[in-house]
């Protein structure tokens, strides 16, 4: 059964039903533009885009009825209360008032905001607003949930709250498409992901596969590396990134390497850790600043 199929401007990917799919990339990589095409905000320049097996150009209204979108920028209705935000939004989907009320109340319980149902939106903290944005995106009981940087700018507590909710939705079988800057978020939530840059897809795969393929198993990181260390690493033929003040070595047997490096080449500032998605990301998209 179809979830989502995108083939536009050299970007092509497929999301199966029930999958959580991530789009990662630096600022300006084209994440939001891609996502906007999927909910019909931006016109399709060329190519083909199908949601639930339906052509986006021909059946946008039907598609929009069945998706939920949580945009990057907060777009809650500040002139309305928490509950009204959900009820009015439900009306845009042609949901009748009484089922809309029931659905809104269920969702407020889901995001633990039922105590604040009559509060004006402006009184909510950033984290609560984000949770309400998520609830609002679920008002039509969507079959595909699109999240554009759902936790950007949130404190760790709020972020974990959102993650818990998203994990719950995912295990309930909801198809999720999300963009993010947080590698931890992508590793935790995504079954598969793509990393894009300059409007192109660099790699595609599951977080674990990508880490294994592009960063290996383990990493030894040394701050203020000496030239002796550099030549040692080169002689061993190990893949590494030399950042000047910091040397990152990717390896399969961290214990042996760490022992050798820490005893012979540095007294402090040497750590060993597991390779992460962030290593993959920086390796593929580079370390220079964007924008």
């Amino acid at each position: 059964m179809f979830g989502l199929f995108v083939a536009v401007d050299g970007i092509s990917f497929r999301v199966s039903r029930g999958e959580c799919f991530g789009i990662l990339g630096p600022n300006g990589a084209g994440k939001t533009s891609t996502i906007r095409m999927i909910y019909g905000f931006s016109p399709l320049t060329a190519g083909s885009l199908k949601v639930f097996g339906l052509e986006i150009e021909k059946e946008l209204r039907r598609i929009k009825t069945r998706i939920g979108v949580c945009q990057q920028e907060n777009s809650l209705d500040t002139e309305l209360t928490v509950l009204q935000n959900l009820e009015i939004f439900a009306s845009y989907f042609d949901i009748e008032p009484s089922p809309a009320r029931r659905r809104a109340e269920d969702l407020l319980r889901f995001i633990a905001l039922e105590q604040r149902r009559d509060a004006p939106v402006l009184e909510l903290s950033g984290g609560l607003m984000r949770r309400l944005m998520l609830a609002r995106a679920l008002i039509n009981d969507p079959q595909l949930l699109i999240l554009d940087e759902p936790t950007t700018g949130l404190d760790p507590q709020s972020r974990h709250q959102i993650w818990n909710r998203l994990e719950e939705l995912r295990s309930g079988g909801l198809t999720i498409l999300l963009t993010t800057h947080y590698m931890e978020e992508a590793s935790r939530l995504c079954d598969r992901l793509i990393i894009m840059d300059h409007g192109r897809i660099l790699v595609e795969g599951s977080p674990a596969d990508l880490i294994r393929k592009y960063a290996g198993r383990d990493v030894v990181e040394v701050s203020e590396p000496t030239d002796e260390l550099r030549s040692f690493i080169a002689s061993q033929g190990l893949p590494h990134d030399d950042l000047g003040h910091r040397l990152i070595v990717y390896c399969e047997d961290r214990d042996r390497l760490y022992k050798e490096v820490s005893s012979r080449y540095c007294r402090e500032g040497c750590i060993m850790r597991m390779a992460t998605l962030e290593d993959v990301f920086l390796k593929l998209t580079g370390r220079e600043l964007r924008e």
Partner: protein
């Protein structure tokens, strides 16, 4: 490129209209005050103050009091203000600061429906204000009924016209402060030179011709005629002007708004 869906407007635009009504009802006590107080202030200032200087005015061959002359103009100006300020400042805040339109477009609503809902809401506000003002002014015996009842649907048409051009400005201004420009160059001259506070005939011929290009002139002519119980074929031309004005600026504002919002 114009999206073919832009003009495929379904009744869903009413959802947008209803959203605005919900907000309006929360603040109705404040929203009701201006249309009650404004005519009272004006009638007091002009009726008591200025009337003594002006005396009476010739209208359609008979002598009328100055406040009877300006009362229909006050209604017309209110129709203009309510719709125009709704689709300029208020719509701009929703579009630019609150991202309300962006949120709406992620639902089954299309942009044409969002903008149509906004313009129709502006016209509705004009009509609500007109209802209240008519009530107040009627207490002074300044409206002839039943002809005066026609002012109610007319206020909706006038609201559509001014709401549409307001939305057009909203689609092109880069910043909210720039609304000062259409207000200075378009709204204020209309407020003064559309046969509102003195008869058009007192202006030089060239100025009269200019004022006939302005929509408020036609609205004032209509409301004034109806207030004096006059319903005659020549009024159809004024109605036609307002209809054409609406039919030009509504789709134009839709096209411009699509260009602005869709990136």
């Amino acid at each position: 490129m114009i999206d073919k869906r832009l003009f495929g407007i379904s009744r869903r635009f009413l959802h947008v209209w209803k959203r605005n009504l919900t907000v309006y009802r929360k603040n109705w006590k404040i929203s009701f005050l201006p249309p009650i107080l404004e005519p009272l202030f004006y009638l007091l200032a002009f009726g008591v103050g200025l009337s003594a200087l002006v005396g009476s005015i010739q209208y359609r061959g008979s002598e009328i009091s100055y406040i009877a002359f300006i009362a229909p103009a006050l209604i017309s100006i209110n129709i203009m203000y309510n719709a125009f300020f709704e689709t300029t400042y208020s719509s701009f805040v929703r579009m630019y600061y609150q991202k309300t339109f962006d949120a709406m477009m992620a639902t089954p609503l299309f942009i044409g429906e969002v903008i149509t809902g906004e313009i129709v809401w502006g016209a509705t506000k004009s009509m609500i204000a007109t209802l209240i003002m008519l009530g107040v002014i009627s207490l002074f015996g300044l409206i002839d009924y039943p002809a005066g009842l026609v002012i109610i649907p007319l206020s909706f048409l006038g609201g559509l016209a001014f709401g549409a051009i307001g939305m057009y400005f909203t689609s092109i201004v880069s910043h909210i402060d720039i609304f000062n420009l259409p207000i200075f160059l378009f709204i204020t001259p209309m407020f003064l030179f559309s046969g509102t506070f003195f008869p058009l005939e007192t202006l030089p011929a060239w100025a009269q011709q200019i004022s006939y290009v302005l929509p408020l002139t036609h609205l004032v002519s209509l409301v004034r005629a109806l207030s004096f119980g006059v319903i005659e074929p020549s009024l159809a031309l004024h109605v036609l002007y307002l209809v054409v004005f609406t039919l030009v600026f509504s789709p134009w504002s839709l096209v411009k708004m699509q260009k602005r919002l869709i990136k």
